[in-house]
């Protein structure tokens, strides 16, 4: 029994017209191009922008958001969506502050407590989405309220600052030097949060692009039923995704707490929208069209550079939001319109 002749060799890359090639290039590199253009423009208008210290400031301003966004990215790979990331950051800030200030424990304990809090948030998310099968968006919305509320309750709605009054007496502890170093220290002149961000970004990149776990996560995002039937334990991987998201948020919360030097009520709130924005912008980077680590880093940088540059140009704060929106919309339209042409 013979069969059809097999032509298994790889096809040569299809011949393209110059125009569609250009569009394809623009689609892949569009967002990177806009980022580069912003860098050049800002450096030109404000020489102080293009200095090493300022680059570090920009990176540092991006680090915390970027770390949260990396977690959100992982939660998105399985088709989930972690709306509770910001609330998790806030809860971790409170918990670390309480550990050191109120219970007078060490910085290391605070780090552990923070990470455990992140895992607790993840556990609740997993219980809701994987076990109780509540849709991700609603479930993590519930978790958001829950942990935002919890962070308030454990402190009676108050911020936790060294010297605060607890039951009539001043709180015994304070932020330890080691813990504070996590926020303000440097390693070879690079701020610690930036180093942590870089390491986590590399780790998430490798995880998603070059390991079987990453492959499984994407498979679940692409077609959960096909993934299950191909032998992937979907529930476990979805739990893994939320765990990574929770740990990333916890790391971000620890760094933020160290930078703030106190447990600030509502400190985590701004991070949800920004991290989601970074992750979503990342979809358009290098034509990935799916959540990806590299894109998220670029997305976070995009926002960070934009805000920093505009501040340096002394744009009034009320114009910044608009310019941000306009740039974002411009970048997206370019990317997605060109994608269609391709």
């Amino acid at each position: 029994m013979t069969a059809t002749t097999s032509t298994t060799g790889r096809a040569a890359p299809p011949a393209r017209t110059a125009g569609s090639r250009a569009a394809a290039v623009a689609y892949r590199y569009g967002l990177l191009g806009v980022l580069a253009a912003m860098l050049v423009l800002f450096s030109f208008l404000r020489p102080a922008f293009a200095t090493y210290p300022n680059a570090l400031v920009v990176l540092q301003s991006v680090a915390v958001v970027g770390i949260v966004a990396l977690g959100v990215t992982v939660s998105m790979t399985t088709g989930g969506f972690d709306l509770s990331a910001g609330a998790c950051v806030g809860a971790v800030v409170m918990v670390t502050a309480l550990t050191m200030v109120r219970f007078n424990l060490t910085g290391a304990t605070a780090v552990v407590a923070g990470l455990l809090t992140g895992l607790l948030v993840a556990a609740v998310n997993v219980l809701l989405t994987v076990v109780a099968k509540v849709p991700d968006l609603v479930a993590t919305l519930g978790t958001l309220f829950l942990f935002q509320g919890l962070a308030l309750i454990v402190t009676g709605g108050q911020s936790v600052a060294p010297g605060m009054t607890v039951d009539g007496a001043p709180a015994p502890g304070r932020y330890t030097e080691g813990f504070a170093w996590l926020g303000g220290g440097t390693i070879a002149s690079v701020p610690v949060p930036v180093v942590v961000f870089a390491l986590l970004a590399a780790a998430v990149y490798v995880l998603l692009n070059h390991t079987r776990w990453g492959r499984a996560l994407y498979a679940i995002g692409g077609n959960p039923e096909a993934a299950r039937l191909a032998g992937i334990r979907v529930a476990r991987y979805r739990a893994l995704a939320y765990a990574v998201s929770g740990v990333c948020a916890a790391v971000a919360g620890i760094l933020l707490s160290a930078r703030l030097g106190r447990g600030d009520v509502g400190a985590g709130d701004p991070y949800l929208l920004q991290s989601v924005a970074a992750a979503l912008i990342g979809f358009a980077v290098l034509g990935a069209n799916r959540p990806n680590a590299l894109g998220t880093v670029v997305g976070a940088l995009f926002i960070g550079v934009m805000i920093n540059g505009l501040t340096m140009l002394n744009a009034p704060y009320y114009a910044q939001t608009f310019v941000q929106g306009a740039l974002l919309v411009g970048a997206l339209v370019t990317s997605y319109t060109l994608r269609r042409i391709r």
Binding site: A48, T51, P53, N54, V57, Q60, S61, V64, G156, G157, Q158, S159, A161, P162, Y175, A180, G184, L256, R259, L260, G261, R262, D264, V265, G266, A267, D269, P270, N308, T311, M312, N314, P316, Y317, Y318
Partner: protein, 341 residues
């Protein structure tokens, strides 16, 4: 959001000089227009902050200073980073407007190390080199509560609006706690409070629930103008005007509008003029740049503004208010010798 900061040195205000005409020549640096002052803010949206900024900008213009403004928009880490950036960019002086002591102090240290003069408003800079400017929150609460006591005769059910974690509110809260101890006739029947970008309408909904649950309430103590506006809306919507009175804090043109409305329950507010505070901050910074001596602790005292006073004088805006209440303008705090005031 309300003004926020760590406790500031409770020193009393002490004008630096007392004359009105320019008493010194304009320093060369200012004449050349090369002075850059960075204003690093914790928050920027809301009437209070807008008026504060307007005052600061007007003063900067008068002094021929370039004011570079950045805002943390409620993200305290961002404020700290903006502060570091101002140091990196070598501003001539820095004004820190609100913020949390623990968060900004590391960056303040960097500024001090870089020998950049610094004025901190409503936040403890934690460095003796810096000037700490504050408005007197205890006095604000005392004035408003004085009005409350006078109207109620020192007894009755009161609804209290408060959210912990905001330093000025916390300070005003200390006064309230003391007031309750001193006046056992005053009974706090409910405590409500929300702070978000739509504080007034959220507080209105809560106040309505609290007033429904406590029909005997005579007064609402709302020591922040957004709280007071929400409470006023609640009283109006429940048709309780005349039964429930509101004692607030802070003032803006919009607040004056609410207070002078017919049947408005908001009868008194204790406030500083935010624009004036902004002016003082810029003046203090300019003095530091010029190398003049400035008190390390400056305080701007508040005034009590009553509904009756506003109505009688026909006041509809803060500009008219400051004309009618000269106490709100404090030209002697951080007077700049080379300008007329």
């Amino acid at each position: 959001a309300p003004a926020t900061s760590a406790p500031s040195p409770a020193a009393s205000s002490a004008p630096t000089s007392a004359s009105a005409a320019p008493s010194a020549p304009v320093p060369a640096k200012f004449a050349g227009g090369n002075v850059r002052i960075s204003l690093v803010r914790q928050l920027s949206s809301g009437d209070y902050f807008e008026q504060w900024l307007a005052g600061a900008q007007a003063e900067a213009k008068a002094l021929n200073v370039r004011l570079e403004v950045s805002s943390g928009d409620g993200n305290n880490d961002k404020q700290a980073l903006n502060l570091e950036q101002a140091v990196t960019a070598k501003s001539d002086a820095i004004i820190v407007d609100h913020g949390f002591a623990q968060t900004v102090q590391p960056a303040v240290k960097k500024a001090v190390a870089a020998k950049i003069p610094l004025v901190a408003f409503d936040v403890d800079p934690g460095a003796p080199e810096a000037v700490a400017l504050s408005q007197d929150d205890h006095a604000i609460a005392e004035q408003a509560l004085g009005a409350l006591k006078a109207d109620t005769g020192g007894s009755g059910e009161v609804v209290y609006v408060y959210v912990a974690g905001f330093a000025p509110l916390d300070r005003r809260n200390e006064t309230w706690e003391q007031f309750k101890k001193d006046n056992p006739g005053i009974k706090q029947v409910a405590q409500i409070g929300v702070v978000n970008s739509s504080t007034a309408s959220a507080v209105a909904d809560q106040a309505k629930a609290a007033l429904q649950a406590n029909p005997g309430a005579k007064a609402i103590f709302a020591p922040y103008d957004e709280f007071a506006k929400g409470a006023a809306l609640a009283v109006k919507e429940l048709g309780l005007a005349g039964k429930v009175k509101i004692y607030g804090a802070d003032v803006s043109t919009a607040d004056i509008g609410v207070m002078t409305e017919p049947d408005s329950p908001w009868v008194a507010t204790s406030a500083t003029d935010p624009a004036n505070v902004g002016r003082v901050a810029v003046r203090a910074a300019a003095l530091l740049v010029a190398g003049e001596s400035v008190d390390r602790a400056l305080t701007v005292p508040p005034s009590l503004i009553t509904q009756k006073g506003l109505r009688d004088a026909g006041i509809t805006s803060v500009e008219q208010l400051t004309r009618a209440f000269p106490g709100l303008t404090t030209p002697d705090v951080a007077r700049v010798p080379w300008t007329a005031s």
